[in-house]
Amino acid sequence: MTDATFFTLQRRFKNRRLTAFAIPALIVLYLAYLCISFDIAGLAARARLDNARILLSDFVSYKTHVSRDNRTGSVTIAIEGEAKGTYAPGQHPDWVQTEGNATRIDLGRGNLITYDAAGARYVVPGYGTIDIRPQDGKLQLTAPQPLPSWINVTDTRISVTTAAGRFSYSRSKVETFKYQPGWELFFFTLDSPFYGKTYGQLTAMLAGPRLDPARSNLAYMAQEFWHNKMWHHADVAWALFETVLMAFLGTMGAALVALPLAFLAASNFSPLRTLRFGFRRLFDFVRGVDGLIWTILLARAFGPGPMTGALAILLTDTGTFGKTFSEALENIDEKQVEGIRSTGAGALQRARFGVLPQLAPVLLSQVLYYLESNTRSATVIGAIVGGGIGLLLTQAIITQKDWEEVAYYMILIVLMVMLMDSASGWLRRKFISRKA
């Protein structure tokens, strides 16, 4: 090896090593800058890990409130404390028992709570009895000393938090929360005749005597499930449909608008150079303005709703489709058009029989691909324009307590997008392999 080659090689290796280190170093530097500009250090202070705990436990469990109004003495049992989850008088879950004025609540694992005329008692296994009695407008607490940190005492309120549940006593009311796994009342609400039945019992009821003489038990059951007052399955299904509808109308509409315009923007079809240039810039403009801005502008004119969302998708994608279609048009084979022309066909016939068959695979695959991606966009746009599953999702998140519904919607959205994905993939394979 001559010296010259040796030095060149060495220099090249040095340069390569330098770039090999420089690029990761630049990335690390950039990330460091981001850490400062995004205030990562302050994140620990801002993060609310208790919120995370509430969210995760709500995803997979629900709580039932057993509360007594201390003035009237009436006891209500309500799932998530909601009116539509309230047990009717006389209808009790088996872990709550009433005898005269006394209410006995079994939280499980030996945790027993009793409400009676004197006040309330909570037996915590391994600790002892917490006894609370109101006296002269104050709360009198008797419990083994010293008080542990999970018992919180103020002048007006005593609250106890254990692994089994939460308990709180104030002058006006006493309340117990029992946590149970699962999604409450997912199939039937409390007022439904099918509530609390096992699958076996339900199957037996299908063949049994009619509960409602007007319809079969199966129809009744389907009705009760579909119009569940807690989960609103019918409304959720409709919202999903609305989201898919937005994506469908937007994508197909965009393709219909973009196709004729693409001819005007393609160099081999456009009659005028200025016209072509103008349409090109129009497509760029529509694409560049972005869905967010179109959504806002359209929502002002058409009001909130799914049509506005569909139109926003339509406008944005007209730009994208116009660009890809016109590029595809410029790449078609002229010979076929020439052949059609030789038969004396007019411009429209040449486009229909000479150009469209060549364009169809590109067109179809683009449209189907965007149909799937727009289903996802329609969720986001729905959150802004107020339509479809996006709206339900943001509403459920904003209340900050119905996290089980958020989990339900998330699962449905993922299923919907995956379904659209495989449907569009299937159609694409079917149509395009046949055309090819």
Binding site: I27, Y30, L31, L34, S37, F38, L43, R46, A47, R48, L49, N51, A52, L55, E242, L245, M246, F248, L249, M252, G253, D284, R287, G288, V289, D290, G291, L292, I293, I296, L297, L298, R300, A301, F302, G303, P304, G305, P306, M307, T308, A310, R376, T379, V380, A383, I384, G387, G390, L393, T394, I397, Q400, V406, M410, I413, V414, V417, M418, D421
Partner: protein, 292 residues
């Protein structure tokens, strides 16, 4: 031959002694199917549009008249205060930078995670070939969750600001890039791998030296394309509640009349940024994929 092509029933068999007739027969049938499909499609579009319009607050035709009203109002107010616009551009530049930073950080993180997913889900390259379906499903699910879902949940836990947006976009990006990366890695030449394996290179070395140089241009070009998409997504997420220029836009819009000059400034900045990055990235992608 004829039986196979046209079916065994004699009634449907075209008369071969008359080729024109059989050709026209075929064409007529094709046209009929085409027409039925077209009618179905038009009916679907029309009824779908009606349903959407029924659920909308305003209907299409009356809204069409109002369409120019809002832009006209905004633009006229901005025109009246046109002297303020340069100042407003400067005022919103930091938020724009934040939006772009969110997109860049999300693309970087998502790209790294996507590379891991891609290497895990490509059959010939995976360290544990048995786990490829698992990696694939993971990427599919990550791709299917819209950014807004994760962003809103993270805002609840982490509070507002750019970090929920970064994590949400990165999550989706990882799934999307994981799929694209794995598709291009599947086409990579495996000979360099064998060569490296014969020298006793470890799996990491084989991938780093044998595969990455081959797929780097493609991967980079996909990542740049994703970056374009992520700038838009980051603006939208800002509008829904986490930092950046989208949030400023929401505040300005909520204020209504009086702050429309800000709205125009933000629209213009966002438009310019999106156009600039689209052009830059399409130039870079062309160079990467087609060579210089």
């Amino acid at each position: 031959m004829v039986d196979i092509t046209f079916g065994p029933e004699p009634g449907k068999r075209p008369d071969l002694s008359n080729p024109t007739e059989s050709y026209l027969h075929q064409i007529r049938r094709k046209r009929l199917y085409g027409a039925i499909l077209l009618i179905l499609f038009v009916a679907l579009m029309a009824s779908g549009f009606h349903t959407a319009q029924d659920r909308n607050a305003g209907d299409f035709l009356s809204g069409l008249h109002q369409l120019p009203a809002f832009p006209a109002e905004v633009l006229s107010e901005a025109w009246a205060n046109r002297a303020d616009l340069p100042g407003l551009f400067l005022q919103f530049l930091p938020s724009l930078l934040e939006t772009i930073n969110i997109a860049a950080a999300a693309t970087l993180l998502g790209g790294l995670a996507g590379a891991v997913l891609a290497l895990g889900s490509t059959r010939h390259l995976a360290r544990f070939p048995l786990l490829t379906p698992l990696y694939r499903r993971t990427a599919d699910i990550m791709r299917a969750i819209p950014e807004i879902v994760i962003a809103l949940i993270l805002i609840f836990i982490l509070g507002g600001g750019p970090i929920p947006a970064v994590l949400a976009i990165a999550f989706h990006t990882a799934g999307a890039l994981g799929k694209l990366f794995s598709e291009s890695a599947e086409n990579a030449d495996l000979k360099p791998l064998e060569g490296l394996a014969s020298t006793g290179a470890s799996w990491a070395q084989q991938i780093w030296l044998g595969i990455l140089p081959q797929v780097a241009p493609n991967w980079l070009s996909y990542a740049l394309l994703r970056f374009e998409i992520n700038i838009r997504a980051s603006a939208i997420l800002g509008f829904v509640g986490s930092g950046g220029i989208g949030y400023d836009l929401k505040l300005a819009l909520q204020w209504g009349g009086g702050k429309y000059d800000q709205v125009v400034a933000i629209f213009a900045l966002l438009f310019l940024a999106i156009m600039t990055f689209d052009q830059l990235s399409s130039f870079a992608r062309n160079r990467l994929v087609k060579g210089r």
